[in-house]
C-alpha cells in the first residue's frame, strides 16, 4: 500500500487507510480514486500529489 502527499499542504493519502470521511474506503488504490477528488485539507487536485518514496 502506497502513500501520496499533497504538494500544497502535506496532507497524506494512505492507500491502506483510504479517506472514509470522503467516501473512499480503506484499501482504495490511488489510481482508483476519482480524478475529481481534491485534497480535503486544501483543495489541490490529484495531479498536485506525489507518491512518497518508502525509505
Amino acid at each position: 500500500m502506497k502513500k501520496w502527499q499533497c504538494f500544497f499542504c502535506s496532507y497524506i493519502y494512505d492507500e491502506a487507510l483510504g479517506a472514509p470521511a470522503e467516501g473512499i474506503p480503506a484499501g482504495t488504490r490511488w489510481e482508483d480514486v476519482s480524478e475529481d477528488w481534491i485534497c480535503p485539507e486544501c483543495g489541490a487536485t490529484k495531479e498536485d500529489f506525489a507518491m512518497l518514496e518508502i525509505a
Partner: protein
C-alpha cells in the same frame, strides 16, 4: 531539445516556490546542475502550519519539511542554506553570496518571496522581545514560547494571519484582542457577508475585536525591551503580554531591482515566468504576472501560485513551455471552518449565497455581468473542485439553481452551455 549537462540553474529562495522549481526541473528531465539557495537555515518547509499546528505545539519542525532531507541528494539538487544573495550581475550571469562565494548560471530563478510589512511606528532595527511577525520558522519558534494560557495577546491586523492565530490562541486559553484599521475583517479579500460571518465566529469564541481602530503607539515597560500595552488613536489602551503584527507583505524585489529588471508591484514576468531578462525567471510571492482571466497583472501570495509558477518556470527552462493560466485560489483554517477561496472578487456587481452561514457551511459567489468571477467557500470541500471549474470556465450559471442547495453543482455545470 534538452539542456546540456553542463547547464546550470540557480534558484534564489528556498520557500514553497524555490523548492518546487528544483524538483520540477528534475521531473522534466533537466540534467544540468541545480543549486537551491536560501537565507533560512532549514530545508524548505511548509509555512501554513506556522500559524496553526506549529504555533499550537502539535506539529514539530521535522514534520514541516516539504521534502525529506534525503530527497535533495537523491534528485542531485545542491542546497546552499543560511546564505543571502547579495548581488546579481545579469550581464555576466553571476551572483554573489554573503559568504563571499559567487556562482555563474545559464538560468536563474528568483523565488525571493515576500516579507512581513513592518509597523511604521517601530524601529525595525531594534526588535522588541514580545512583538512578533509571522512568516518564518524562526518567527514561529520565538512566538510559540510566549503563547501561554492566560496571556493577553493583542493582534494588529484582521487578515488571514491575524485570524488564524486568534483562532488558535483562543483555543489555547489566551485572551485575544484584535485591532483592525478597516471597517471589517478580511477587508481586502472577501465580501462584507464573509467578513461579518468571521467577525461573529471570532467574537463568539471570545475575541475582542476593534474595527476602524487606528494604532497610535506601543507603550514599553521599564526595561524598554518589551511592550506592555497597545494604544489606539482614540486613547484606549490594551495591556499586552505579547503582540502579533499581521498587516500584509512586501515583495522582495531588491535583488531584481539592483540588477535592472522591470519591477511593478513585484518582479514583472510574462505568462512563462520570464522577467525582462530572457535568462531570468521570477516565481511566487515576489512576482507580478499577467492574468488573462482578469485582464490585468496580479501578484498573488498563495501556495498554489508559488507551486504552479515554479512548474511553469521549470517547463520553460526544459524547453517545454506552457503558459501559466491557473485561476487564483487559496485556503485558510480557523477553528472548524475551512475557508477555500477561488478567483478575485474585485469589480463584482452581484453576490449570491448558497447554503447557510448559520450552519457554518456556505458559498458566497461573486459575479460580474452574470459571470462567476470568484467564490468564498466555508466548509464546502466536496464542492470546491466544481466551483473552481465554474470560475476557470467563466461560466454564467442559472442563479436560482446556484443558490438552491438541493441542486448539485455537478447538475448545474452539466446544464450550462459553453460561453460565447
Amino acid at each position: 531539445m534538452s539542456q546540456p549537462e553542463s547547464s546550470c540553474t540557480l534558484i534564489v529562495g528556498s520557500g514553497h516556490a524555490g523548492c518546487e522549481a528544483a524538483f520540477s526541473l528534475r521531473q522534466n528531465g533537466y540534467t544540468g546542475r541545480v543549486v537551491l539557495i536560501g537565507n533560512e537555515v532549514s530545508l524548505p518547509y511548509q509555512r501554513p502550519p506556522l500559524s496553526k499546528g506549529f504555533l499550537a505545539g502539535t506539529v514539530d519542525d521535522q514534520a514541516l519539511l516539504i521534502r525529506p532531507a534525503d530527497a535533495y541528494e537523491k534528485a542531485n539538487i545542491e542546497t546552499r542554506l543560511g546564505v543571502q544573495v547579495v548581488s546579481l550581475n545579469a550581464a555576466q550571469k553571476t551572483i554573489e553570496l554573503s559568504d563571499g562565494s559567487s556562482l555563474g548560471y545559464n538560468h536563474l530563478i528568483l523565488a525571493t518571496g515576500s516579507r512581513p510589512r513592518q509597523l511604521a511606528i517601530l524601529d525595525s532595527e531594534r526588535p522588541l522581545a514580545n512583538v512578533h511577525y509571522l512568516r518564518t520558522l524562526a518567527h514561529a519558534q520565538q512566538m510559540r514560547e510566549q503563547m501561554l494560557e492566560g496571556k493577553r495577546l493583542v493582534i494588529i491586523g484582521g487578515g488571514y494571519i491575524g485570524l488564524e492565530v486568534a483562532a488558535m490562541a483562543l483555543k489555547r486559553g489566551l485572551k485575544v484582542s484584535l485591532i483592525e484599521s478597516m471597517d471589517r475583517l478580511l477587508a481586502r479579500v472577501t465580501a462584507p457577508d464573509v467578513s461579518s460571518f468571521y467577525q461573529h465566529v471570532h467574537q463568539a469564541e471570545g475575541a475582542k475585536l476593534h474595527l476602524n481602530a487606528q494604532l497610535d503607539r506601543l507603550n514599553l515597560d521599564t526595561t524598554g525591551e518589551r511592550v506592555e500595552s497597545v494604544q489606539l488613536s482614540d486613547g484606549s489602551v490594551f495591556p499586552a503580554d505579547l503582540v502579533l503584527v499581521g498587516i500584509g507583505a512586501i515583495a522582495n524585489t531588491e535583488l531584481a531591482e539592483q540588477a535592472g529588471l522591470e519591477i511593478d508591484n513585484g518582479i514583472v514576468v510574462d505568462e512563462y515566468t520570464y522577467t525582462s531578462d530572457p535568462f531570468i525567471h521570477a516565481i511566487g510571492d515576489c512576482c507580478s504576472h499577467p492574468s488573462e482571466l482578469y485582464g490585468r497583472r496580479l501578484r498573488l501570495e498563495s501556495i498554489p501560485n508559488a507551486v504552479e509558477q515554479a512548474r511553469t518556470a521549470a517547463l520553460a527552462i526544459c524547453a517545454k513551455p506552457l503558459p501559466y493560466r491557473s485561476v487564483p485560489w487559496f485556503w485558510s483554517d480557523q477553528y472548524d471552518l475551512k475557508l477555500q477561496t477561488v478567483g478575485l472578487s474585485q469589480g463584482h456587481d452581484q453576490t449570491c449565497l448558497r447554503g447557510s452561514p448559520a450552519l457554518r457551511s456556505f458559498v458566497v459567489f461573486y459575479l460580474r455581468e452574470g459571470m462567476v468571477i470568484a467564490a468564498d467557500c466555508v466548509n464546502r470541500q466536496s464542492e470546491f473542485a466544481l466551483i473552481k471549474k465554474l470560475v476557470q470556465g467563466r461560466q454564467k450559471p442559472d442563479i436560482p439553481s446556484l443558490v438552491d442547495d438541493s441542486m448539485s453543482l455537478k447538475d448545474i455545470l452539466a446544464q450550462m452551455t459553453t460561453p460565447a
